[in-house]
């Protein structure tokens, strides 16, 4: 059996990739895609720990995270579409009206 540490290390690499994507991509949709990558990395770690402890609680948490992510995507993409209709862009640098 593959050790729990290997799964958590893979999860950490995927999470770091998602973080790099969030920091470097300039389109709101691409930032969202990277956030999904980070959520999946967290899910992978939770499932690995669930096997390690022999407790389905971790898998239940993953189920709830999946549902939250689906709701977040629905609302987030609706917001992106609404912003695009008004501003004709999804570039996060142009949408910094609330900063500071």
């Amino acid at each position: 059996m593959v050790s729990t540490g290997s799964y958590v290390a893979l999860s950490g690499i995927l999470f770091a990739l998602g973080m790099i994507g969030v920091l470097t991509r300039r389109t709101a949709i691409m930032v969202f895609l990277s956030v999904e990558l980070m959520l999946n990395a967290a899910n992978l770690a939770l499932v690995a720990f669930a096997r390690s402890w022999g407790d389905p609680t971790g898998q239940t948490a993953v189920f709830i995270v999946m549902t939250l992510a689906a709701a977040e995507v629905a609302i987030g993409l609706a917001i992106i579409v609404a912003i695009f209709r008004k501003r004709e862009t999804t570039n996060v640098d142009d949408l910094a009206a609330l900063k500071g």
Binding site: V2, L17, L23, T60, F63, I64, F84, K86
Partner: protein, 209 residues
């Protein structure tokens, strides 16, 4: 088992790199689909068969279809050109990401399992829908119901957000919008005059008089 982990893990990392590096947003979304499918396979190797099925159906299926639909609807598959607002943001993100991944890898291999892995895997009974359902509807009943309400709110919110701007009385002034009543009558008039030549002739005679 080890071979499956190495293969799926490597493919997941490749998919993740495509996701964050692809210039075309459609390619990035398809890279993420690959990663999600590989993670579903990894769930299956971790005795979580129900979650593996849910991952394929909900994530790789429904969520990514929504993503691809919005990318194509907004025609956002072209990369945004322009300079970065923060200098060296790519280099800084690369260094930070490498450090974070290194820290995770080092921490992960210091983790000690509380019991033998085979014992824990047996206790999960394959992570079937029976095990998940028993846990969700007994110990986690309140979060389960809260999440169902959240999904309902999300559906209503998404529908309300993408309503037509005319039907949305937000009351927020928007300087980028055309003033109401400036260009709209002409836009409505154009097809009507084209479709009804008799009316158009009548109006032209009115204009001439």
């Amino acid at each position: 088992m080890t071979l499956a982990f190495i293969l799926l893990g490597a493919l997941a990392i490749v998919g993740g790199i495509i996701t964050i590096a692809a210039k075309n947003a459609v390619h990035a979304a398809l890279g993420l689909v690959g990663t999600l499918l590989c993670v579903a396979g990894l769930f299956a190797t971790l005795n979580a068969s129900f979650l593996a099925a849910t991952q394929v159906i909900v994530y790789a299926g429904a969520v990514m279809v929504l993503f691809l639909f919005v990318i194509m609807l907004l025609n956002a598959n072209q990369p945004v050109t322009g300079r970065d607002p923060v200098p060296f943001v790519r280099e800084l993100a690369g260094i930070g990401g490498t450090l974070l991944a290194g820290a995770f890898v080092v921490l992960a291999f210091t983790y000690k399992d509380p019991r033998p892995l085979a014992e824990g895997a047996a206790a999960l009974k394959g992570g079937s829908a029976l095990v998940m359902g028993e846990t969700l509807l007994t110990r986690f009943l309140l979060p389960f119901e809260a999440v169902s309400i959240l999904l309902l709110v999300a559906i209503v919110g998404a529908v309300a957000l993408v309503q037509r701007p005319e039907a949305q009385p937000d009351g927020v002034p928007d300087e980028l919008e055309e003033p109401i009543g400036a260009a709209r009558p002409e836009r409505e008039m154009a097809p009507r005059t084209g479709a009804q030549p008799a009316l158009q002739a009548g109006r032209e005679s009115e204009v001439g008089a």
